[in-house]
């Protein structure tokens, strides 16, 4: 097992014919993912990276039985692409594209409540279950199959930490980049729930950053609901208050959303927090040793 994507995943790439879509389709295929279709309106009938392209999601799903999608279409068209996925009952939708308008995402998030589906992102690296399926832009080579679940608001920081884990021979069940935008489809808690329920996951790494209070909420959830150990890392201690640090979501809007506040919340909840990426792997190693 794993969460969100696994051996049963039949992936469709929305926006397969764009530069990034094509590049990462190739990488996802190379990672052994069952990429069954691509969708780009007007390019139906073509093939990209040996994957058949369709004009619409409906057609792609009818012809190939796709059940998960990864979105590379330009930001202006992302909400539409997400609605298209949801309306044809794709169960896991990963929106990689960054720069999706916040008002579009509020509508998507509201619509999601009537759908039995998980949206990851936008502005995220996607989801990867090593050795099973890669619906992401994460470099497959740094992953190795195992029992640590990874959930993160940040993309490259996730790679950094996964790399540290792999170098210590600590494998991953699934890595989920939930994205750092102000409005995202799925928060920490929903992913933590899934890891808690996944028999293959023994320990979870949670990677947060400044902005919002998702880490604080997650800390409370971990303390009250989770039996599996969680190791956390928060980035942004050096970020000046009130400055935008790249992610639109990483705005320090008040005392509550600073790295310090998040770190304190983690400590209060009894969660081990690392001070740098390497230390995350050390703490995970310790945790797994204790558990065995």
């Amino acid at each position: 097992m794993a969460i969100l994507v696994d051996n049963e995943t039949r992936l469709v790439v929305q926006g397969i014919t764009g530069r990034e879509g094509r590049f990462h389709t190739g990488r996802m295929v190379e990672s052994g993912t069952n990429v069954v279709a691509g969708v780009t309106p007007g390019k139906g009938g073509q093939e990209y990276e040996s994957v058949p392209v369709f004009n619409t999601m409906e057609e792609a799903i009818e012809e190939t039985g796709a059940n998960a999608s990864v979105i590379f279409v330009p930001a202006a068209f992302c909400a539409d692409a997400i609605f298209e996925s949801l309306d044809f009952d794709i169960s896991t939708v990963c929106c990689i594209t960054e720069g999706v308008p916040v008002h579009d995402m509020m509508k998507v998030a509201t619509y999601l409540r009537v759908k039995d589906a998980t949206l990851i992102g936008p502005n995220c690296p996607g989801v990867l279950s090593p050795g099973k399926a890669n619906a992401s832009i994460m470099p497959n080579s740094i992953f190795t199959p195992g029992n640590v679940g990874v959930v993160s608001r940040s993309g490259t920081l996730t790679y950094q930490i996964v790399n540290e884990l792999t170098q210590r021979d600590i494998g991953q069940s699934t890595a989920v980049g939930i994205g750092g935008d102000p409005i995202i489809g799925t928060d920490f808690i929903e992913i933590l729930q899934q890891f808690e329920a996944d028999p293959e996951t023994e320990c979870v790494v949670m990677i947060g950053e400044i902005g919002g209070n998702a880490e604080q909420n997650a800390a409370e959830y971990v303390q009250s609901e989770m039996t599996k150990p969680v190791v956390a890392y928060i980035a942004g201690f050096t970020a000046p208050e009130g400055k935008t640090m790249g992610h639109a979501g990483a705005i320090v809007s008040g005392g509550d959303s600073t790295a310090e506040a998040k770190s304190e919340a983690l400590q209060r909840a009894g969660i081990r927090a690392a001070t740098n990426p390497s230390e995350v792997a050390e703490l995970v190693a310790e945790t797994l040793d204790e558990g065995s």
Binding site: L157, G212, P240, P277
Partner: protein, 383 residues
């Protein structure tokens, strides 16, 4: 993207929200001319993209046009929280009977717009939230349904408004919600929203933040952006599509992805260094963009060493390496540069660098080692 008060008010007026008459002035002479045009007592208000201008002396009220010039002279050029005042808004007076607070913002946790209203306006809303939380009415909006009539009534009744003020606030709220959605704002805030003696309801201030990601559909708002206001480096970065924030240290930092760059800043600080900036080259950055990014970081005269931390996902290591070499060629940067490259196509990138490494470029295998090296080089370096 934050709008100046005068720009925010321009936007509110487009959505039928009444403000006082006002004219922007960039010099004491323009300020006086504006005051004469408006007539009567006027307020002279510093236009800066930060709060606290009142306490800093950035707002003055004068009775006579001849006093305007002197007041404007005092405000123009003033530094308020690192922001230089380059313009003032000269605004007509009004007979105010009460001050209220009204805002709409994007609530991250609920994933919906949130309306905040209080009859205690004109002061810091966070202060009101602490001292008198009962006075703040909170209403969440379903973004698919929009603001419903019952919600407007609820705000008005919960706040205990009556008569003309109730009606006026209701109208402003409907208009402000339109402004919020149709302009793709992440925040619209009117503090104070005032009721006048003659029963009108006006926006006396306006704080508007537009979602940068939406600017492709708001070219008119995008054009409002006042690039002169920013640091020259921040200006260049913005034009190049790079996320850059200048800080006070001497270790220049660039990398890909906000989280990794933030983490790099933290690690540099832990290693005893002092970050000179935050620069995220973003996903899929090509050689040209990397070159421009490096140039922006190096053009900060405080920088004594540069740490370049790349972990490739969308960004490919070979492009990063080529970008780095190309940037070095073009800009003749002779600062010490520590490069740490990992992830997608990292090996190809490292090979490219190995073949062409200039003398001032050091490569390190790990992020921690790279941080330590960059800090060491900055401490030993000079410029």
């Amino acid at each position: 993207m934050d709008l100046y008060e005068y720009q925010g008010k321009e936007l509110l007026r487009q959505f039928d929200i009444e403000t006082l008459e006002g004219i922007v002035a960039a010099s004491p002479e323009e300020a006086r001319a504006a005051a004469e045009q408006l007539g009567g007592p006027v307020a002279i208000k510093a236009q800066v993209l930060t709060g606290g201008r009142g306490k800093a002396g950035g707002i003055k009220v004068v009775q006579e046009p001849e006093d305007v010039e002197e007041a404007a002279r005092q405000i123009l050029g003033m530094e308020i929280r690192d922001h230089t005042v380059r313009q003032v808004l000269i605004e007509a007076g009004a007979e105010i009977s009460s001050e209220m607070y009204l805002s709409i913002l994007v609530d991250r946790a609920e994933k919906k717009p949130l309306i905040l209203f209080s009859t205690e306006g004109g002061v810091d809303i966070e202060e009101v939230a602490e001292t008198n939380p009962e006075s703040i009415v909170r209403i969440y909006i379903d973004p698919l349904l929009g603001l419903l009539p019952y919600q407007v009534r609820e705000l008005v009744f919960d706040a205990g408004l009556e008569g003309d003020v109730a009606k006026g606030v209701g109208q402003v709220l409907n208009n402000l919600y339109r402004a919020f959605t149709e302009s793709d704002a992440s925040l619209v805030e009117i503090n104070p929203l005032v009721a006048t003696e003659d029963g009108r309801v006006l926006a006396l201030d306006a704080k508007v933040t537009i979602d940068n990601s939406s600017l492709f559909r708001h070219s008119d708002i995008g054009e409002m952006h006042d690039v002169e206001a920013a640091d020259p480096g921040e200006q260049r970065a913005q034009e190049a599509g790079l996320q850059y924030v200048k800080l006070d240290g001497d270790v220049g930092i660039l990398g890909n992805g906000a989280g990794l760059v933030m983490s790099t800043l933290d690690v540099v600080a832990q290693a005893g260094g002092d970050p000179a900036n935050f620069l995220d080259v973003g996903g899929g950055a090509d050689a040209e963009k990397i070159s421009e990014a490096l140039d922006i970081v190096a053009s900060n005269q405080q920088v004594k060493s540069v740490l370049f931390n790349i972990f490739g996902g969308i960004t490919r290591g070979d492009e990063v390496a080529r970008g780095l070499l190309s940037a070095l060629e073009q800009s003749e940067i002779d600062l010490p540069i520590v490069v740490r490259l990992d992830g997608t196509n990292a090996e190809e990138g490292r090979e490219i660098l190995a073949e062409n490494t200039p003398e001032n470029v050091h490569t390190e295998e790990t992020m921690l080692d790279a941080a330590r090296k960059a800090v060491e080089l900055a401490q030993n370096g000079s410029r």
